[in-house]
Each structure stands twice: as structure tokens, then as C-alpha cells.
Symmetry: C2
Subunit: 360 residues, 2 copies
């Protein structure tokens, strides 16, 4: 079988040129005489890969000198603990905006280490929208404000940057990192598991304002203290070297394609094309409010759910795979991250229209 | 440049057939139409890879039903925290045998969560030996006994399994996992970062006795609680899918080569050949006591350290790389894990003899 269009929510599609290059140099990277996987993380060959990758992240996202870039492990779920453990202090408090399953997990974890003020929530409408700035009820005693900038499951995304007042804004950007331009300076911490927009599962990108380092109490495990990793430039222990290398190749691919400004334009086009198709008929329905819609994850339902199984079988046969929606929303979900080409979205739109003609 | 013999202590050599296969199927795995890196961890293709990998670990190590096999992230350094956080309980105590740098890190981390009894140490002789069973001064109040079964930096290895009495034996087996047969039933926890003997950096193999699950207090982060991962069969959050896949290919390669009994024989031969060469001359010297010598990491010094730089330059030119020793020991270190072929050790021995002839 040839390559399919993979609409998985994560791990997700990677750019084919990245995979081809990684495949070609798997056994011998450059003049090293070995695979990247076999390189000592302290050796000059890997250190050069690491340096270039970190610099590419800095360049692509215009990370200011005030912030440090870290490559960690454990995914966003580990960040759910690290953020409160590092920022709350003992008996502290955090503001959290609840926009879905992942926000709820972050909130639940934070409660182990302090108290949580839910500053706003859209749970009453099954998380079909992002709360507006004027809805946020911030706690003056909170040490930070945490948001989930894109909600993979419910298909919503912030199209504004919340202003949390004097405290740092922390965002779980796992599912929209590098899909658009953001002003990094407005964030205290940006974290993202790589497996949606950046690379393979197993590396977590963390961008942290340097003045937030060193606030963790002694009871925090060394590996969960941001300062450990900042002091060692992500080399306190062996980092996930191969995942970092792939992330670097993805960054190079982004740079070759014009960086995040160009990528954002493509993502706007892809999302509009798909939402327009869904909105243009009663056969399909999108549960999210238009102003809050994610450019990355597009959930939609069929008016007749009896057709769901047929839809999934026929779409897979057409080379459009992993379209089944999350059980919290039902129906379908198309994840169209950076690596999903416009042709993939076009093929999906064609299929949606054709399927409606045949079954509508 | 063609492939070299890479004596790196970790990340380290991988079997060439594993790399070749991974490279060939990088863009399209089987009939999936995508890379393993792009597969949803909840999809049937990856779940089959996961199932086979876990079963291969169980088969290779003869893991009994009493134990669970987990694939985690964060390396041994994260285990240094997880072990006491999960097993000590609050205000608890652990016995630790101090056999070098990694033991010391484990001890230091454990002290954040309780108290540590150093049951034995070989620090007085710069960790050139493994304490004997009769030297262990176990604390009757300890909740477990922690050892480092192979010491990557100092080149020592346990050639017996300590008896800790009624408490579970915990071992950091990062640098000798699957290099020899062990009786898993005698251990409470066996953990190992993959990047030496198992696969790429970024996945940590943990084998834990099931009755030790569920002992962590509520204050332990969800991701640092073994029960979280056991309950979810290592899929609580997105696991490091590609690293697990490579680990699975390495396990397959081990099975094709006769499993751990056959591998142990090869490792005994490789180590003997290298130690015999070093012991057979005054030109080289091995700092470790013969009974405690590691089959995996062979440190040695040159009688004349002025020749160190020349040695490293000439060996690299001969395609024998990453031989520089750790600063704690000095001189050289040859790491000869499972994936280092006998030809690699033979080439190193030839080089050692030739170098002595020319510079001795």
C-alpha cells in the first residue's frame, strides 16, 4: 500500500521529506559512521544536531533572550505536574481555564500540589467554545494562569492571547505549537508534546521564562525541576536524542516552507476549506462555535450516525485514515496539523462531497 | 565514511540489521501506509507492535506472571525518584549499595523523600569492586534494597544476586539489562534506560512485582506512580512509540541470535578477550578487581598517559570510536554491549597490540 493521508490526532503525520531523509541516513548519519540513535549525547556530532535544533526552534518562534528552550520527556501529562510543582510553591494556587479533557487533567493534577481556581469553563456546552477574556474570573492569589491553547478532542482553539494580569501565562500548546505565530514574550511557559506538530512521541518542548526557574522547593524530584534541565541545557541526563533529531528535521522543513507565518496561512486555508465544506450542508455538522474553531482538529458528525461505520470504511478505502472521532464528541475528527498537505484536505473534502452524494 | 565500531557508553551501538530494517520501513511500515512514528498509539497497527515488543521482553527475560513490564520515559534518573516515592512511603527508609556515580545519584535523590542507609560502599577504593553479600549492612527498617547491577563509569558488575532479606531488591540495570540471564523473580523492580543495551534513548524499561503497585501516596505525581502505567498498560498518555518499536526490533534480533543465554556466552567471550589483552601487558592497566569486572564497560588506562591523545586519534582513524574514558576514571573505556560484534572487539584488541608495538 502507498502512503495514506493520516488524520490521526497524535502521533500524527510527519512531512514525507523528513521521513525519507531520516530513513536514508538511519544507518549512517553524515560522516559519523553511525546512526543518530547510536551517538553519544555528549559527542560533537549529536551536540551539533542539538544546537541546530534548538536554534531552529528559537528562530521559528522568535523566542526572546528572556526565555529558555528545553527538550524534556514525559509529555504534557508530566507538565501537568511540573507546572504547579515549580510555580505554585507549597500551599499555592493556580488559575486554570477549563476548555476540555486535557484542561481537566491539568486541573486534577495541580490539585495534588495546591489549590485551583477555575477561572472560566465551557463545560456546560460540552466545551464547544473558548471563554472570552471578559469571562475570566482570575484569583488575585494565583501564582499563574494555565490555558490549553488548542483542544485536540473538542476542536477548539484560542484565537486571542489571554491577559492574566501580573502572573505568568502558561499554555499547553501540544496540538497547535508552531501552527501559527505567537508572541512568546507574553507567556511564562509554553509546553508541547511533540507528537502532533513537531515530531515523534517522546520529546516535550518547553519554553520557559528564565525568571521562573529556581522556584521549585527541595521536595520536587530533580527530573521535575525545570532548573535542572535549564542549567544543563537539557543534558542533565540522556535526552531523547533521536526524537530531538527528528524534531530538528521538522523545524528545517518548516523553515524551507517559509516558517510559521507561511505555515499559518496554509493552515488557515486548509481549515477554511474543510469547515466550509461541513457548514455548506446539513449532511455534516460541526459542534464548535465558529469563533472558537481549531485550525488543527476538526470534529464533525454525520446527521445520520447510522452511516458512521460506512463512512469510516469507505474513507479508509480511499486512503483517508484515522478519522474516527473521540468518544467525548462522537462522529469524526480530522486532524490537519502542519504536516497534512493541502492535497490531503482537498482529498477529504472531495470524499465528503462524494459520500454525501451517494448516501445523502 | 562507512560504519565504525562505536564503543560509546550510551547511547550506544545498535545491531545493523535493526537499523537497516528501520530505515527501509521508515516512510511506510508494512501495509499501514505510514511510518511507525505517525501511528496513533491507540490504533491497531501500533498496538500490535507494542504487544509483540512486550511479549518479546517477557519471553527473553522469562518474566514471571508476578511481574508487570512497563515502558516509561525519563531514564534511570526519573527512576531514582520513582523508586523511593513509590516504595518508601512517607518518612520511610531505603537501603542503598553505593558502587559509583549512578548509585550516588540514586542515593541523593532518595534522600529527598526519606532516609537512606548505605548498606555498603566501595568508594574508598574509587569503586573498583562490588561489595560482597557478607559486607552488606542492611537496615531492618528499610523498605527495599537498591543496587546498580552494572556500573557504566567504573566498569564493575554484580556477578551474584544480593539477598536483601524480606524486602524487595531494586536494581538499576541500565547498562547490563538483557546482557545475561537473571532470575527476575528475585527482584522487586528492575529498571533500565534503553540507550545502552535495548534501543534508543527515550524509553525506560521497568519490570515491577505487581504487589509493589499502588503503594505511592497521593502526593506523588500521576506520571511518577507506577500504578498509573501498570493500570493503563503503559498507555496512560502517549508512550514513546518509535523508541518502543526499535526496542522491539532489538528484542527480535536477540531472539534470532538465541536469546539471552547465547548473548551471555558471546558477552563472556568478548569481555575475556579484551581483559586478557589488557592484563597481558604492563602497557595497559585495568583499574577494577577481576571478580567485579563488568562485561559491558571495560575501563583501562595507558601506563604512559602522555600517549592518551595519540591513542584516541589513531584509534578513531582505525574506525574505533568513542573510546575516551570517563573523567572519574581517566584513560579509556570500551563499552561492548550486546550490539558490539565480536569482530569489533577483535579489531580493538588488534589495535591495542599494534599501538603497543609502535609506542611501547
Amino acid at each position: 500500500m502507498s502512503r495514506v493521508f493520516n488524520f490521526s490526532a497524535g502521533p500524527a503525520s510527519l512531512p514525507l521529506p523528513v521521513l525519507q531523509r531520516a530513513g536514508a541516513e538511519m544507518s549512517e548519519h553524515g560522516n559519523a559512521g553511525m546512526s543518530v540513535m547510536e551517538m553519544s549525547h555528549r559527542g560533537k556530532d549529536f551536540l551539533e544536531i542539538f544546537r541546530r535544533t534548538k536554534q531552529a526552534v528559537i528562530d521559528l518562534m522568535a523566542v526572546p533572550d528572556t526565555h529558555e528552550v528545553l527538550f524534556l520527556q514525559g509529555g504534557a501529562s508530566t507538565q501537568f505536574a511540573m507546572v504547579p510543582m515549580n510555580l505554585m510553591g507549597s500551599g499555592g494556587k493556580g488559575d486554570y481555564v477549563n476548555t476540555g479533557s486535557w484542561s481537566k487533567k491539568a486541573i486534577k493534577e495541580a490539585k495534588r500540589f495546591g489549590s485551583v481556581n477555575v477561572a472560566a469553563t465551557s463545560e456546560a456546552t460540552n466545551f464547544n467554545r473558548i471563554p472570552r477574556q471578559d469571562e475570566l474570573r482570575l484569583d488575585p492569589g494565583a501564582a499563574y494562569c494555565h490555558i490549553t491553547s488548542n483542544n485536540t478532542i473538542f476542536g477548539t482553539e484560542y484565537h486571542y492571547t489571554p491577559d492574566p494580569g501580573d502572573v505568568p501565562l502558561v499554555t499547553d500548546a501540544s496540538s497547535n505549537i508552531m501552527s501559527r505565530l505567537i508572541d512568546v514574550a507574553r507567556y511564562g511557559i509554553i509546553y508541547a508534546g511533540a507528537q502532533k506538530n513537531l515530531g515523534p512521541a517522546g520529546v516535550t518542548l518547553v519554553i520557559i521564562r528564565k525568571d521562573l526557574l529556581g522556584r521549585a522547593p527541595d521536595s520536587v524530584p530533580t527530573m521535575l525541576n525545570y532548573k535542572t534541565h535549564a542549567d544543563a541545557d537539557s543534558m542533565y541526563n540522556t535526552p531523547p536524542t533521536y526524537s530531538i533529531y527528528i524534531l530538528g528535521l521538522v523545524c528545517e522543513w518548516l523553515q524551507e516552507h517559509g516558517g510559521l507565518a507561511a505555515m499559518e496561512e496554509v493552515n488557515i486555508r486548509k481549515a477554511r476549506r474543510l469547515y466550509d465544506c461541513i457548514d455548506g450542508t446539513d449532511f455534516y455538522r460541526c459542534p464548535t462555535e465558529p469563533d472558537s474553531r481549531s485550525r488543527m482538529n476538526v470534529p464533525f458528525t454525520l446527521a445520520n450516525p447510522d452511516l458512521d461505520a460506512t463512512f469510516l470504511t469507505e474513507s479508509a478505502a480511499a486512503g483517508l485514515v484515522t478519522l474516527k472521532g473521540h468518544r467525548s464528541v462522537g462522529g469524526m475528527r480530522a486532524s490537519i496539523y502542519n504536516a497534512m498537505p493541502e492535497e490531503g484536505v482537498a482529498a477529504l473534502v472531495d470524499f465528503l462531497q462524494d459520500f454525501e452524494k451517494r448516501h445523502g
